[in-house]
Amino acid sequence: MNSLLGHGLILLALSSATIGSILGFAAGRSGSKQGLQWTRRLAGTFAISLIAANVVMEYALLTHDFTVKYVDQVGSTASPTYITIVSLWSSLEGSILFWGFILGVYLLGFLVSTRGKHEEMTGYTLATVLAVGTFFAFLIAGPADPFGAVQPRPDSMHTGPNPLLQNHWLMIIHPPALYLGYVGMTIPFGMGIAALLRGHLGPSWMGATRRWMLIPFGFLTAGVVLGGWWAYEVLGWGGYWAWDPVENASFLPWLTAAAFLHAAMLEERRGLLKAWTVVLLLITFSLTILGTFMTRSGVFNSVHSFTQSAIGPTFLVFLAVILVISVLLVGLRMHLLVDEGELGSPLSRDAAFIVNNLLFAGFTFVVLVGTVFPLLAEAIKDVKLSVGAPFFNQLSVPIGVFIVFLMGVGPSLPWGRATSGEVFRLLRLPLGISAVLTLVAAALGMHRFWPLVTLFVALFAAIVALRDMVTPVQALMRRRSLSIPAAAVLAFQRGHRRYGGQIVHLGVALAVVSIAISSSYQTIGEASLKQGEVLTINEYQLRFEDSRNFREPHRDVLEARFTVLKDGQEIGSLGPRLNRYSGQMNPIGTPAVLSTAKEDLYLSLMSVGKGGASAGLRAFVNPMVSWLWVGSTIMVIGIIIAAWPARRRRVEPGEAQDDPTEGGE
């Protein structure tokens, strides 16, 4: 029954997407209102049937209907209910179905928000989104069909979803956050294609596209960071980022989306970089598909390639179609997107934004090349090699530092042009303060070059961001004689985009300092300890007490207990583990972490000797790691503020528009 219902809904989704897409392109071309109306209806049908198909699958999972292929594959009557719910995205077929759910939700949001608006653009946008939807509905209907009716396997084989996914709660929210990020990029992609096909890009469409990009950008930011956090809490090698191909795959669209969000401001404000802005939309979407391909094709060796599946070739064809059509469209249509303004002088915010975009593009290119290079080497010379962290670090640190520096320069400079005297006046205070603070840090014992440089640029950017948030408040207080809170509220209401953006910058500044310091000043200690023996690392002493073996439903656990002393005082106890999962010979460690604002004490169990009498321990002291999670949270909050819909308001005559990002909407 569930099988039949699921198949029916997917077929409905597939047919409405196909017809809607064709109709949408026709309506976009002819401008037919009726055609657009029908496209919207079909888009709605597509969205609702995909959402309903997901409801059916959840129902089948929760009722353990093992006659449904996907339930037979990942279901287990022994799994706790929350694991059963999230097993929807624990495996290939389910996650593609879930992809459809998210697209359905985004699409409904888009339909509601564009009701009676932007009619000349929505036809093409919906057509593009539905074309993408056709591909995914096709995948769900055929190559990755989760609804197939099967003879259930014997119950002993219903072991539940991939044990790694059941290992930690972060794994439950990391994939959906990433998916919300990836899938959401489909809408701005459609909007960019519409701009190309119409040959027109105005500030109001740009503003709408920017908002539709901000939402998935927020989720993608969260998803990338959650992935790093998960790796840190679970994998036990003491770090949070390894430049793994699939990590890179999630970082690539983040970079180009960030580039877009900045380019879009230049477009909105000055009418510049129109074609480039659209190109960034297309690249970002293509990179999300590339990322999905990397995760799901089994082409890359990574902790993420859970599935070796046959849909790799299908995805590659889809990626090829998107890339080739995108290049053709840009080549054929970009001449219609003519810039309206003139680029300001090299000393202007315009110029800072352009350099920022060049750096983001360069960063993307470096990461992309590093990621696919092993494939190239294998194809040409038949050697297996991996591009390690040193390559990425060597290139990404300077680029990142430069981007953060511009994060301070850009908001300081006026649009258009500035004199060098003006630039000096605007920059001297933040540069001065951050130089002094950096020297203080050096005096306190920070001597390495790149961490100091990073600290300097991050402080500079943070001070500029703070100044940028305080200045409008001061101006309002002066002009209107308001109290501080009243002026702050008014300033925030008037320029929430500016505030959102600057809060993101503060988060980035905090995050990069944390990354620089935690990766440069990590201390590692290693020892094989007998019971009662102590490993000293920095001011910590770790005393091995004992070890115990126990069985959890999906794994065998070997846990070693360590008492943690700091300067001789007992401050707690940590129990790093080795977990043995079914079918894997090498155990997977679960580290134990003691987090403080200053640093993390991170214990990873390497081995336990015969009878539990000795333990091989790897201990790390990772300074400032918690601040990475704090900084990332601040970034996401800032993105939410920036994406929040603006209240319609009247601009009072004679009142200067403070908001640097506000276009002519």
């Binding site: 099967v150 003879q151 396997r153 002993s156 084989m157 970089l273 074609a275 480039w276 190109v279 590339l290 391909f293 094709s297 089994g298 082409v299 890359f300 060796n301 390639s305 070796q308 790799g312 070739p313 590659l316 990626l319 090829a320 890339l323 080739v324 995108s326 290049v327 053709l328 840009v330 080549g331 054929l332 970009m334 001449h335 003519v338 810039d339 352009i354 975009n357 060049l358 593009a361 992309l368 696919v372 494939l375 190239l376 294998e378 194809a379 297996k384 065998d556 043995r580 999962y581 079914s582 079918g583 894997q584 010979m585 090498n586």
Partner: protein, 194 residues
Amino acid sequence: MTTKPSQGAGVSWPTLFVGMSLVLPLLGILLSGLFHDPHDLGNPLEDKAAPRFALPVLDDGKLLSLEDLNGKPAVINFWATWCQSCPMEHPVLEEAAREYGDRVQFVGIAYEDKKERLSAWLRQANRGRPSAYPTLIDIGGKAAVAYGVYGVPETYFLDATGTIRAKKTGPFLPYVDPASDGRLELRRIIEGLL
């Protein structure tokens, strides 16, 4: 991004050229990736003489060596009691061992394990029936290292001359679907040895 075509100009050839020269090689590289399995560590011992071993048999402690198997194709299954898919694979191997009888010698090699646990495990898995083939205890994991065992279960297939002809990583599982049924796969490989 700095290309600024004059108004009315049509196709931007430079954009097309640059775009395609970025996109097509990327697609080519990804395509080539589909033909390589990054997880395939290969089997460097394929078509080479199987590493020799002489290990105690679980039941009586007598040594059984590779030479004792010669003259007959052999199926060597590395497993362990702590391995979670081994209980599902075990009946498949037992059944095949009985079916091929004297024509093929099945051998289990227990990896990183204890004698008592092995006996108890086998008693339970065989439900009182005697084992269809002997289990050897790999002291210190030397045989596993010699064969390059990466994970358990892992199964090596030797022809009558003692040459390794095939290797299976992971368990042979009894699936209903013929395409993924380990019972059929196991028989296919064995038929190739005979």
